[in-house]
């Protein structure tokens, strides 16, 4: 089966609908009820990063979220229209030292901890792609 795609403008007003969609996806894959909101937090964090760093919050630019449900995992791809360098754009560890008091920059840290697997790469067209794996028990 081909992955299912969700296409979103880079506009924070779509984050709440996205949260609901991702929880519905999780529910259909039998993610435990207690974990649904953690799944949606992880995906929404990465979608926000794609909007900001990849698409510069330009509502005309699209973030594409696609997902495949496998027997033991859900795989999400979060693609934007940029080719940003994650380590440059997110070039600090938000969980250490004085950076603890920064008001931003925690999204990837949270997503990585909740999802267990988050990897930055490129689409075949050279745009930024984040892959998130959510294990199913």
């Amino acid at each position: 089966m081909r992955p299912i795609e969700i296409r979103l403008p880079s506009d924070t007003s779509v984050l709440e609908p996205l949260q609901l969609i991702i929880e519905a996806v999780g529910k259909s894959a039998e993610v435990e009820e207690d974990d649904l909101s953690l799944l949606s937090v992880a995906v929404v964090e990465l979608a926000k990063n794609a909007m900001e760093h990849g698409n510069e919050n330009d509502p005309e630019k699209i973030v594409t979220i696609s997902f495949d449900i496998f027997p033991n995992r859900i795989r999400f791809h979060i693609d934007d229209e940029g080719s940003w360098e994650p380590e440059k754009a997110l070039g600090f560890n938000p969980g250490e030292g004085e950076e603890l008091l920064l008001t931003r920059g925690r999204g990837v840290l949270i997503a990585r901890n909740l999802a267990k697997w988050v990897e930055f790469g490129l689409t075949p067209e050279g745009k930024t792609r984040v892959t998130l794996i959510w294990p199913l028990t």
Partner: protein
């Protein structure tokens, strides 16, 4: 998201409810902290018990509130963080900055210590 405010003694209790998700609404929370300082209500207890969903944007605003209040000589403490929100505090190590409580009276008393 809804915001309710109530003075309890000399502590301003701010209760958030609903989803704390990125967007313009968060600026409202930020301005509540600033207004508290402007009105010299520097002791603030943030009740998160009715927050159903929160992400890093919400944490960022809470950190901003902490900084605003600390600079004014006050403090921001957290009440009733749900298990999931508490997990976000642990992941981001913000748990090392904030005092968190599950009992309101205990939280209110802590400001006098």
């Amino acid at each position: 998201m809804n915001i309710k405010q109530q003075m309890k003694g000399d502590v301003l209790v701010i209760a958030l409810s609903g989803k704390v998700i990125g967007g313009p609404e968060l600026m409202e929370v930020k301005s509540v902290f600033q207004k508290a300082v402007d009105q010299e209500n520097n002791k603030v207890l943030l009740d998160l018990g009715k927050v159903s969903w929160m992400d890093s944007s919400g944490l960022g605003v809470i950190v901003s509130g902490h900084t605003t209040l600390s600079r004014a000589g006050g403090a921001l403490r957290i009440l009733n963080a749900t298990k999931k929100i508490h997990e976000l505090f642990i992941i981001t190590k913000l748990i090392t900055i904030f005092e968190t409580f599950t009992d309101e009276q205990e939280a209110l008393n802590s400001f006098g210590e």
